[in-house]
């Protein structure tokens, strides 16, 4: 058995073992089954199996191994190839045996293998290894000493902590960073247990040590949080630090700070800081939504450097409330476009339970830009204030009326839809018509009860002017549903040419399969030919673009063929069949070849469909037999089969197989078998053919083993 096969076998065996064990675990004696699996895996380790198999066995022992497996795994620790595999199991096997084995190995190994072993001791947080690790802090190999330091940090007991704190001063320079890392880990552990005093001391040790800046940052963060309220001065010191990293640490740490004691100090920091920093402090303040001093943010939004104001306005989007409304409204209608835009965006999202009520209260007494803005906010925030908004529809200013209409579009319920319908049918100002239609459309498409909505629109249709009728039909077409479809169909078959035009046009764009029978009927019975053609084209479009069973699609195409009198639509149908290749579609295309003017296009389509189907393994020869394909003069100019630079010339072979049809059958369905071998093993290959049909040159390529149907050259 070669290595690869043995490895595969081992892996499959192991996978099957897990499955068998797992599913039978409830009924069987788990321990017995696990012991059996362990024994089988250990047998691999004991054998002369290749390292690959032993590696996989180690992986299995990570699940099934017990202390019994530890000695065999430990033997692999000095093996550079298998040490890491052995540690996968040793790290997770419960009990002292693994700990003892790793600790013992750490006493004899060196270099990278020792580092790995120490890392596993670290993962297991093996307390008995502290003495050993403490000694390793002074190992001449910096990697070993650093691993020991971090391991001590993970163990984090008193002894480990003590050795690390001492080590901060005594270890070599290139190990001190790891010792600091270990100290921070110890301090974290103490902090989480509530021993914040000692934790703070350790953080301070690190802050005062000669260690890389990142260690200082970590310790500073810890020193602030561990001291709780007493850490605030240090935090504020960072806000004022000239060091960018320290300032950034303050921004991060303040977001973590528990309780509200720090928040009262932050407004002063905003005032003290440069604008770019103040803008960032405000963002940090807003990320403490429970404790933020809102008045300070609001004040920053009102006045001061623009960058700070923009930050504050943005922050109010998250932490503001109705108390910010008047300020934001003032900024939003102010002269500074950038500030105004920011304020508008914030007003759209301003939180707080009373904001909407306040906006409605302000609306009747507002004027000019503010009134328009409030109406916009009614729409944006979807505030139910139809009656108040309706009162502004008669305003002399078109901007106000437009804002009111748009707000209604966003807010009216189905019961109140007539408010907008009446504005479409008879707007108080003629130049409001377009906006009214837009608003009615916006309202209609969001109605949960679209049949109810369509019924209202359909009823309005009967009493509307010709222009309005078109608008209502267009809205109905985007509302969708049965009533809307029925209304459009009725319009398309009415006596009014305008309604016929609108109805057939909108039905042609209808985005649902339900429209198919309506369009087919219209294609047969519409009052004018141009609308019959439009309906037929719409019907063909439905067959083309919607997902449906292929049998249904072919049936639709057959229906359309029955109605189509012009070659243009017949060709469109052939395109549909080509796009959605199916055996039934091929039959329909070959049937179309019987229509003389359509024969060239139908032949082309049939061959294209056949080629697609052949690539999917469909037996198209049978389907094409008796199709009445015209004989052609086929010449093979050149043919190559292969991939990349590995090409095989198969010209002669294909010439022998060529006939008087644009279809070439090979001796076998396999190209490799037909062409006498595989020119590029393991790689996807293609067959490329240059040819002439009836003197016209063509070129085509085929995926491996695809049916060879040569497209008719144009």
């Amino acid at each position: 058995m070669n290595t690869t096969k043995r490895l595969t076998w081992a892996a499959v065996f192991l996978a099957a073992s897990i499955h068998t064990f797992s599913t039978s675990a409830q009924a069987a004696d788990d321990a017995t089954v696990a012991a059996e699996k362990e024994q089988e895996l250990l047998a691999v380790l004991h054998s002369d199996a290749p390292a690959a198999e032993k590696a996989i066995a180690c992986k299995g022992l990570a699940i099934y191994g017990s202390s019994k497996a530890v000695p065999d795994l430990a033997k692999l620790l000095p093996n550079p190839q298998l040490s890491s595999w052995a540690r996968i199991a040793l790290e997770v096997i419960p009990g002292d045996a693994s700990d003892d084995a790793l600790r013992k190995a750490a006493g004899s190994l060196n270099g990278l293998l020792l580092v790995g072993t120490i890392n596993s001791i670290s993962f297991r947080e093996h307390a008995k290894a502290v003495d050993l690790l403490a000694k390793k802090l002074h190992d001449t190999d910096a990697q070993v000493a650093s691993a020991a330091a971090v391991a001590l940090g993970h163990i984090g007991n008193n002894a480990a902590t003590k050795s690390l704190r001492a080590g901060l001063a005594s270890v070599s320079n290139n190990v001190r960073s790891a010792v600091a890392e270990g100290c921070v880990l110890c301090a974290e552990r103490l902090y989480s247990k509530g021993d914040t005093v000692v934790a703070a001391e350790i953080y301070d040790d690190v802050r005062n040590a000669d260690v890389p800046k990142q260690r200082i940052l970590e310790a500073t963060r810890g020193a602030i949080l561990a001291r709780s309220q007493k850490g605030i001065p240090l935090l504020l010191e960072l806000f004022q630090s000239k060091d960018k990293a320290m300032f950034q640490l303050a921004l991060g740490t303040v977001r973590e700070y528990p309780g509200n004691s720090v928040d009262t100090f932050l407004p002063a920091e905003v005032t003290r800081a440069t604008p770019d920093r103040a803008a960032l402090i405000i963002q940090a303040m807003a990320d403490r939504p429970r404790f933020v001093i809102l008045s300070a943010v609001l004040k920053a939004a009102e006045q001061g450097p623009k960058q700070v104001r923009l930050s504050a306005i943005d922050a109010l989007r998250r932490v503001g409330d109705d108390s910010c409304l008047s300020t934001l409204l003032e900024i939003a209608v102010g002269s500074d476009a950038e500030l105004a835009q920011a304020a508008k965006e914030t007003l759209g999202d301003l939180p707080g339970p009373n904001v909407n009520d306040e906006i409605v209260i302000l609306l009747p007494t507002s004027k000019g830009k503010t009134q328009t803005l409030l109406l916009q906010l009614v729409g944006q925030r979807r505030i139910n204030a139809v009656e108040e908004v309706e009162k502004t529809l008669g305003h002399s200013d078109k901007t106000v009326r437009s804002a009111a209409l748009i707000a209604l579009g966003e807010t009216v319920s189905l019961e109140k839809l007539d408010v907008l319908i009446s504005q479409v049918l008879a707007p108080r100002h003629s130049d409001d018509a377009a906006v009214a239609r837009q608003a009615l459309k916006a309202a209609s498409v969001r109605m949960p009860d679209r049949e109810g909505c369509a019924a209202k629109l359909a009823a309005a249709l009967r009493r509307s002017s010709p222009d309005s009728k078109t608008a209502l039909l267009e809205i109905l077409s985007v509302v969708g549903g049965k009533k809307a479809l029925q209304t459009l169909a009725t319009a398309a078959k009415s006596k009014d040419p305008q309604l016929q035009d609108d109805g057939s046009r909108l039905l042609g764009k209808w985005n649902d399969l339900d429209v198919a029978p309506v369009l087919l009927d219209l294609a047969k019975t519409a009052p004018a030919e141009k609308f019959r053609i439009r309906a037929l084209r719409g019907y063909i479009g439905v067959a083309r673009k919607f997902a449906m069973p292929e049998r249904q699609r072919v049936e639709m195409c057959q229906n359309a063929f029955n109605v189509a009198t012009r070659i243009d639509e017949q060709k469109l149908l052939l395109d549909v069949l080509k796009l959605h290749a199916s055996p039934q579609g091929l039959q329909l295309a070959t049937k179309a070849m019987g229509t003389r003017p359509l024969k060239p296009a139908a032949t082309q389509a049939a061959l294209a469909i056949a080629q697609k189907l052949g690539g999917k393994g469909v037996n198209v020869k049978e389907l094409l037999s008796g199709a009445g394909l015209d004989n052609v003069k086929l010449e093979i100019i050149k043919a190559e089969y292969g991939a990349g630079a590995s090409q095989k010339d198969v010209t002669v072979l294909l010439r022998k197989r060529a006939s008087n049809l644009p279809l070439i059958t090979l001796a076998s369905t396999s190209y490799n078998a037909s062409f006498g071998g595989d020119p590029a093993p393991g790689v996807k290959k293609k067959l490329r053919i240059q040819y002439r049909i009836n003197g016209k040159p063509g070129e085509s390529s085929f995926a491996e083993n695809a049916l060879i149907v040569l497209p008719m050259p144009e």
Binding site: T4, T8, G116, K306, R446
Partner: protein, 432 residues
């Protein structure tokens, strides 16, 4: 209401609403650019200096999102492949019109540079967590491709490390910054769908991700391909080109060979992450059941179910999700479209249909957070929770039975087998 009908109404609504409002959209940007000082040329002192680690095909896409940012200066790339180092340098140098992008074989050389603020980690998944934590300890912020971790233990340590080091970490879960996904998750999070009952993730298969120990082949020169560095934290094995260039070496949660499980991570790190967002980034599910009829059902503490669907995507493009509440539901996918139980759920909002890309929003979120020190959308804790859900599901798949997870102790309850699969030793000298 039939799903089909609602989808059409909504699509039309979005289209018409967008055109009516002059194509106004809900931009996912968190902080106005003016706050970040981006209204004009960005002085060198305010730029985020970025280095790349392992920039291949996916990383190249990420790079194309970083380079156009006015406040980014990309200065270095580290890769174990000489060819890639050269290719990335050429892209970067061409973009800036200079020859200044430095190349390194060992990513630690990038981390040693004090001028570099942040790194883009787009290695294979074998390296993501280890490289990210090494970078954090070196004082770098990072945008790290997904899946971020190889097992539950790494997920927990990642979140701890980023918190302790106060670094900004953004997982490459870019859908968290796409408006339609954000909107769908917001509906679920804020109770607009009623009490949440089920969230569906479509990991597009839950098959094994093969890795293992293949037949030895001649090892290239270290400068051409540094095989030892490629293996990194993964257990040793000889050079084999299929492992080098194959798909996602050692992704499957450390489950090698013909073991089952592991496949949830590829798409799960996206779609499960979105489900986690929908449940307001709560702790991961506490119960994971065996796969049945192509689904794996997990359950959160509050009873909400997380369903992993093995086959098929709902017709909304790749990476679709579905959130079901007592009063409504929503589906969203990479096509950029949403389907809702009622158009009312849109509540007058306009949500741009932009598909699963670009990731530029996500990169922008990261860069903004580097400056503000806010937690980005794909932060380490969020990534940790989503990845634990994926890893636990993988373990249930591997064991082919139910497993129960205790979020307080981060252990499987009374389950020695499952607990042993929470972690995997790293090859020397790597540690987390």
């Amino acid at each position: 209401m039939p799903k089909k009908a609602t989808r059409q109404s909504r699509r039309r609504f979005l289209k018409s609403a967008a055109s009516a409002a002059g194509a106004a959209v809900v931009a996912p940007t968190i902080i106005p650019s003016s706050v970040m000082g981006l209204n004009g040329a960005v002085p060198p002192s305010e730029r985020v200096i970025v280095g790349g680690i392992g920039i291949g095909r996916r990383g190249g896409y990420d790079l194309s999102c970083f380079l156009p940012q006015e406040d980014v200066q990309f200065v270095a790339v580290a890769d174990i492949k000489q060819k890639r180092r050269g290719e990335v340098k050429k892209i970067v140098d061409t973009h800036y019109g200079n020859e200044k992008c430095e190349t390194y074989r060992d990513f630690r050389d990038v981390l040693d540079r004090s001028d570099i603020d942040a790194v883009l980690i787009a290695t294979g998944p074998n390296w993501h967590a280890t490289a990210a934590m090494t970078a954090a300890k070196a004082g770098k912020d990072m945008y790290c491709e997904k899946p971020v971790t190889k097992n539950i233990s790494q997920s927990l340590i990642l979140a701890d490390t980023m918190r302790r080091t106060s670094r900004v970490f953004q997982a490459g879960t870019q859908r968290r910054n796409l408006p339609h996904f954000a909107f769908a998750c917001e509906l679920a999070r804020t109770g607009k769908l009623g009490k949440l009952k089920k969230v569906y993730a479509h990991p597009a298969g839950m098959q094994a991700m093969m890795s293992g120990w293949l037949v030895p082949e001649e090892q290239p020169d270290k400068d051409v391909v540094d095989w030892d560095m490629y293996l990194g934290p993964a257990a040793w094995r000889p050079f084999n080109k299929k492992l080098l260039d194959g798909f996602n070496f050692e992704k499957g949660g450390g489950f090698v060979g013909a073991f089952r499980g592991g496949g949830v991570l590829e798409w799960g790190s996206h779609c499960v992450d979105l489900c986690q967002w929908a449940v307001d980034d709560c702790l991961p599910p506490v119960e994971y059941n065996a796969r049945k009829d192509g689904e794996l059902m997990a359950r959160y503490e509050n009873g909400t179910q997380l369903i992993f669907r093995e086959k098929g995507w709902i017709p909304l493009g790749s990476c679709p999700v579905r959130f079901e509440g007592e009063t409504g539901w929503v589906e969203a996918g990479d096509s950029g479209k949403m389907v809702l139980s009622s158009p009312e759920l849109l509540a007058g909002r306009e949500v741009e249909e932009i598909g699963g890309y670009p990731a530029t929003f996500h990169v922008r979120d990261f860069l903004d957070c580097v400056k503000t020190r806010r937690q980005p959308k794909g932060n380490a804790q969020a990534a940790c929770n989503a990845h634990i859900a994926c890893h636990a599901a993988n373990i249930a798949l591997l064991l082919d039975r139910q497993v129960k997870f205790d979020n307080a102790t981060n252990t499987f309850i009374d389950d020695a087998e499952a607990n042993r699969l929470r972690s995997e030793a790293l090859r020397e000298p790597w540690r987390l």
